[in-house]
């Protein structure tokens, strides 16, 4: 039963991508409705898996494919978290897309499901070999989500996305080869298979980190992210940023805890990773401040948030890991609702530059409420979820310091940076919220020197089809903040497995 469920959870998206494609030939709207329904099916399958996992079943499948390594799948806590996020977001996004996507609805659904197939495959992969297969598939399928608009920028961004994915996969393949030839094991879901103290492991470690980090958008490789998210439709950006970029961060957590385990604690390797994470965190926010286009700003903000997750992985302490994993969940909720809100603004006004967003709160109160909730959570105002991951990360930093993993000054700097990052978030979300609710449009355009052509666009809220998923995600940032125990229950399972 468990095996069938696990296989079904992975294969249903594959099947549904074909079904949606076929349906898209017949009826466009039907295809997107069908797509949403199928996403629901997959979510329920993953939930079923979670229930089984909770009861203590060992949910794993292995196939011998005639190679030295097996095709092995297993559902563990971390993978289930990612799968739950992915399927939930896919459900919301595909529901949202019934109205949002204008052309090629069927194709969008097809590639959405195909990339979900890749993503769920990745997070349930028990070894690196299986992961690589799904990783490649996932990269290609999600590139089509970026290209979906088919404008020259979108195609260029898609090309870049593919290019960077190929670079990442190349690193992964190299690492896999070295890892297998030296240890004979590719296991990902263990608690550490190698010892960092020997020479080539450091190389393997950095290759793995580079491979996943490129996908996640870690600092030097973050540049593809602000190129491709604005080029993609907002709905695609929501799921790309909320769930799919997390695959990279997921990989880094797996590498740090699953491949290297506790042997990594202490030496300078994690400190370099920590530095990279902090640079990602601060740099992403700094770059976001200077943006004038909403989607690009959100993309840079995603870079910054990925920094938190990697920070959680790099600190090697239980609380920090909890913070990192919790931030995966939180960021999925926050960023997807931000992108969906951004999408509905673009849908209704046709503009996405920040200057044209003044006074939009009066025209689109629900959208702006969603935006405000998510942005406050981003800033880390306490009752929202964003605060708790920051809290856990900071206490985790101190725990890591008292455990001797990092130097005291580094711990203080890291805490300072976490604090500063919250402030920077406020610096770029604050003006939008304030101008959105309290700004006046006329004054702004006159101020800018643009000749306002006074087009009275009669825009208002989009229909309930778009509002519902958006608002549910937005309000969930608040509700989960109050009932933080629910996500923490998931996170605790991960932490207790590794520590």
């Amino acid at each position: 039963m468990a095996k069938i469920l696990l296989l079904a959870a992975i294969l249903v998206p594959l099947a549904s991508s074909f079904i949606v494609f076929a349906q898209g030939r017949v009826s466009k709207r039907g295809a997107s409705i069908l797509s949403a329904v199928l996403c629901g099916v997959d979510l329920s399958l993953v939930l079923g898996l979670y229930a089984l996992f909770n009861k203590g079943y060992e949910v794993a499948v292995e196939y011998n494919v005639g190679l030295p390594f097996k095709l092995a799948l297993k559902a563990d806590a971390l993978g289930l978290i990612l799968a739950l996020i992915g399927t939930t977001l896919a459900l919301f996004v595909s529901f949202y897309c019934i109205e949002y996507i204008d052309k090629n609805k069927g194709l969008f659904g097809t590639f959405l499901h195909l990339s979900m197939y890749g993503m769920i495959g990745i997070v349930f992969s028990k070894n690196l070999f299986t992961l690589l297969i799904f990783f490649e598939l996932f990269s290609i399928a999600s590139a089509f989500l970026v290209i979906h608009k088919q404008t020259p920028e979108a195609i260029r961004a898609g090309f870049q996305y593919l290019f960077i994915s190929v670079v990442g996969t190349a690193c992964l393949i190299g690492a896999t080869a070295i890892l297998y030839s030296t240890t004979g094991s590719l296991d990902l879901m263990g608690q550490g298979i190698v010892n960092i103290s020997k020479g080539p492991w450091i190389l393997v470690f950095w290759l793995l980190v580079a491979g996943f980090g490129v996908k996640a958008g870690m600092f030097p490789a973050h540049i593809w992210l602000p190129e491709s998210y604005p080029a993609a439709p907002s709905a695609a950006a929501a799921i790309l940023s909320g769930a799919m970029a997390k695959v990279g961060a997921y990989g880094i957590i797996r590498v740090v805890y699953g491949v290297y385990g506790k042997s990594l604690a202490g030496p300078s390797t994690t400190n370099v990773l920590l530095t990279l994470a902090v640079i990602t965190m601060i740099g992403g926010s700094l770059a976001a401040i200077t943006q004038s286009e909403l989607k690009k700003m959100l993309a840079y903000s995603s870079v910054a948030q990925i920094g938190y997750v990697i920070l959680g992985a790099a600190l090697m302490s239980p609380l920090a890991l909890a913070g990192g994993v919790l931030h995966i969940i939180n960021h999925a909720l926050m960023k997807s609702s931000l992108f969906l809100a951004c999408g509905s603004i673009i849908k209704k006004t046709g503009k996405s530059d920040l200057a044209s967003m003044k006074g939009i709160g009066k025209k689109m109160p629900m959208t702006m409420t969603t935006f405000t909730l998510a942005a406050l959570s981003m800033i880390g105002i306490p009752p929202f979820v964003g605060f708790f991951s920051k809290w856990l990360l900071a206490t985790g930093t101190m725990q890591s310091m008292s455990g001797g993993n990092i130097a005291p000054w580094a711990a203080y700097v890291t805490i300072g940076m976490i604090v500063l990052s919250g402030l920077l978030n406020a610096l770029y979300f604050g003006p939008i919220i304030i101008n959105g609710w309290f700004g006046e449009k006329k004054k702004a355009s006159a101020h800018h020197g643009h000749e306002d052509k006074v087009e009275k666009i009669a825009f208002n809220e989009p229909s309930w089809v778009m509002l519902t998923p958006m608002f549910l995600l937005g309000i969930s940032t608040f509700l989960f903040g109050i009932y933080i125990k629910i996500p923490l229950r998931l996170v605790e399972k991960v932490v207790s497995y590794y520590f």
């Binding site: 602000p226 770059a287 105002i381 604090v419 610096l427």
Partner: protein
């Protein structure tokens, strides 16, 4: 269930439900909610503790002791008055935010652990920002933005301090912190909220820009919760006593120069908070009592004053002292409450300010400097309130007198109520001293107190009467505060995101080039091979040239001549360019820095000058030539300053962001766009280095292709060669 009856939740949930009611129902509902909150707070007994389990912590949502209860009493009382005062406001969002603000302030006061405290601390910041933003003016919007940023900075300092404290002690309970980094961070955090000197600018910046009904709420909670926190974590930490005294003097000095009523009152908040902070710094039981009592009184009379100025704004739309006056006859209740509140704040006997200041002075008696500083501040307070009530209400102004009408009942009743409270608690201090955190044994109505105060005040009144026309008359002018320093800092700090953005753009341009480079790889490959062949040819020729047997002609040196520029282009130009760019950037930054420094150094000097001017004016009188000249100068500076503010701060938050980018264009050498820099980067760095990879691949591919001759014999040759080599290998090894 008891958990949901917490006063904080009553107000917050009550506030969130406000939009459900309309008109009269809403008014009744609002009053009922405030009354309910009041009753709940008054029914809490000291020692009550309510906890919930959250994460791994046990959060203490409510821990009532005498200190927190005392602050909570005045909060709910003033909440009721403020709600009645603003009953006529139609926007439900105001009541919603106001209740959230009040509720979170109460939550903060009752919080028993730092996490709860921090949560409510941030809620206070967010909801009060909303209150400022209710004013539709863009000025208010920008002030609100600055306000929230300042408060978030403060909150984050607090959070950092809490984290460190938690890690050091493993406990989140609010206790008196030992001196150390956690304490400093918490003090800075609380200091921003309570308006420590140099950290105070948000206060006079935003309070006058909020709507008048929001000012009522704002003047009460934010600073007072910070004072409460200080009383909790740092009583008796002597440094803050001096900080407080400095605040007290600074506040009144600035207040004395103000023209805008609410700005004047805002500076007075700083001054009064300074008294409280000083008393907390002294830290004895009398000191804490004094601080808390002063907090209590200050809320009463400061709210009354804000209400009065709000009433004037509501009825007449005036809030600058130089256009006010003549209101005593038409607005008797307002004027009466202003006078009573002014008397209270200045500490006239039989008003409540007298009592609490007496406590504070008693506590400060042991320290002469502190005592003197606080006395000086008291003098300033008295002067400025003489100015406020005389020029604002009492002096004749027939023009305005015609228009003036009394404010509606819901505004006058709370005003008068507060004034009466000021008076009653002034006469019967026992009403309040019973509930003070510590037992009180100070006798208030002693001859010493009376004599000292009266002596001082009579002299000051005489000074005011003499100098009222020449010295104290309000006129429309702008005063400078430390905002200038902030602007300067922001401009300096803007380099960081700009630099990052530059780096980022460069990285992006690299990425964008990749497809282009790959598609164009043919040409660089040719160039590269040409370079290589030139290079080798030239080496060959050099070899022959310098060997003794050579007798080559000069003309055959041609390839060598070609090589030099080629080499130069390939290796040295990027290097030279890099050096020149570095120099250029350095120069630009240096000039910009000196420019800015010159600009703001001037400003700083002129700021000093305005102080000097103040003193000169006091000494020489308003009409002297010197003072006129200074006045002129200040006004021009004020104009410029306003422009700077418009340019840098007041331009709307987007424009602030845009301004952060000031130097990208400046930093770019040889062009005025980032694109030109990235173009040059493209042309030289990328074509030079990135193209080498595809070029090398193609070069090698070209060479390897030649091996494919298509002649079978060539292939056979290779095969046999390999076979022979294998045979040799095997024979050397001695078989398989």
């Amino acid at each position: 269930m008891i958990k949901f009856m917490l006063p904080a939740f009553i107000f917050i949930i009550g506030g969130l439900l406000t939009p459900l009611f309309k008109d009269i129902a809403r008014k009744i509902y609002l009053v009922l909610v405030s009354l309910a909150g009041l009753i709940v707070v008054f029914s809490i007994k000291a020692g009550t503790v309510i906890t919930i389990n959250f994460l791994d912590f046990q959060l203490i949502l409510l821990k009532a002791d005498k200190l927190s209860l005392f602050v909570a009493y005045i909060f709910v009382i003033i909440g009721l008055f403020a709600v009645i005062y603003s009953l006529h406001i139609k926007e439900s969002i105001f009541q919603l935010l106001g209740f959230c603000y009040l509720g979170s302030a109460l939550g903060l006061v009752f919080a028993g652990d730092f996490l709860t405290l921090y949560i409510f601390w941030e809620l206070v910041a967010v909801s009060s920002t909303g209150l400022i933003l209710l004013n539709k003016d863009p000025e208010a919007r920008n002030a609100g933005f600055r306000y929230i940023i300042m408060h978030l900075i403060g909150g984050l300092f607090l959070l950092g301090g809490i984290w460190l404290h938690y890690l050091n002690t493993g406990s989140l309970e609010i206790v008196r912190l030992a001196a150390g980094l956690p304490l400093y961070l918490v003090i800075v955090g609380a200091g921003i909220n309570s308006g420590f000197m140099f950290l105070h600018t948000w206060l006079p910046d935003s309070y006058p820009k909020a709507p008048y009904y929001s000012s009522i709420f704002m003047s009460v909670f934010t600073t007072k919760t910070a004072v409460y926190l200080l009383a909790r974590v740092a009583p008796g930490w002597s440094y803050i006593a001096y900080i407080g005294a400095a605040m007290a003097i600074f506040g009144v000095t600035m207040a004395l120069m103000q023209n805008n009523t609410r700005k004047l009152l805002s500076y007075h908040i700083i001054s009064q908070v300074g008294y409280m902070v000083a008393a907390i710094g002294i830290g004895t039981a009398v000191g804490i009592n004094g601080a808390m009592y002063h907090l209590f009184n200050n809320i009463l009379y400061k709210t009354a004053l804000f209400m009065a100025s709000g009433a004037v704004i509501y009825t007449l739309g005036k809030e600058n002292l130089h256009e006010m006056g003549g209101l005593a006859k038409k607005m008797p209740f307002t004027t009466a409450s202003v006078i009573i509140a002014s008397l209270s704040i200045t500490g006239i006997p039989f008003f409540n300010g007298f009592i609490s200041k007496g406590l504070i002075f008693d506590a400060a008696h042991s320290n002469d400097y502190l005592y003197l500083m606080l006395e000086l501040a008291a003098v300033g307070t008295f002067l400025s309130f003489l100015k406020f009530s005389y020029y604002g209400f009492l002096r004749p102004n027939p023009e305005l007198e015609k228009k003036a009408v009394e404010a509606p009942w819901n505004m006058t009743v709370p005003m008068i109520g507060l004034a009466v409270l000021c008076f009653i608690t002034g006469i019967f201090p026992g009403l309040v001293t019973r509930i003070l955190p510590f037992a009180n044994d100070v006798e208030f109505f002693t001859f010493d107190h009376f004599f000292g105060v009266s002596q001082l005040f009579i002299v000051i009144t005489a000074v005011f009467v003499i100098g009222r026309v020449k010295v104290f008359a309000p006129h429309n002018r702008q005063t400078f505060d430390f905002d200038v320093a902030y602007v300067w800092t922001i401009e300096k700090l803007a380099v960081i995101p700009a630099t990052f953005s530059l780096l980022n753009n460069w990285l992006e341009s690299v990425l964008e080039r990749i497809p282009v480079v790959i598609s164009k790889a043919k040409q660089p490959a040719i160039i590269f091979t040409n370079y290589l062949s030139d290079f080798f040819t030239s080496i060959w020729i050099d070899f022959w040239l310098f060997s003794p047997v050579s007798d080559l002609n000069k003309t055959e040196l041609e390839p060598n001549k070609k090589l030099a520029p080629a080499l130069n282009q390939f290796f040295f130009i990027p290097f030279n360019w890099f050096i020149s760019v570095l120099g250029n950037v350095g120069n630009k930054i240096a000039t910009k820095a000196t420019e800015i420094e010159a600009k703001y150094l001037n400003k700083g000097i002129q700021y000093l000058a305005s102080f000097v001017w103040c003193i000169e004016e006091l000494a020489l009188g308003k009409d002297s030539a010197f003072s006129k000249r200074l006045d002129n100068m200040t006004n021009t500076i004020a104009g410029k300053m306003a422009k700077v503010e418009k340019d840098v701060i007041d331009k709307g938050s987007q424009e602030v962001m845009a301004n952060l980018l000031w130097n990208i264009e400046e930093l770019t050498p040889g062009g005025n766009k980032i694109s030109s820099l990235s173009n040059r980067m493209d042309r030289i760095v990328i074509d030079g280095f990135i193209n080498i990879i595809p070029a090398a691949i193609i070069y090698i591919g070209e060479r390897v292709r030649r091996v494919q001759t298509g002649l079978v014999q060539n292939y056979a040759l290779v095969v046999i060669f390999i076979v022979s080599v294998l045979i040799i290998m095997f024979s050397l090894k001695g078989g398989f």
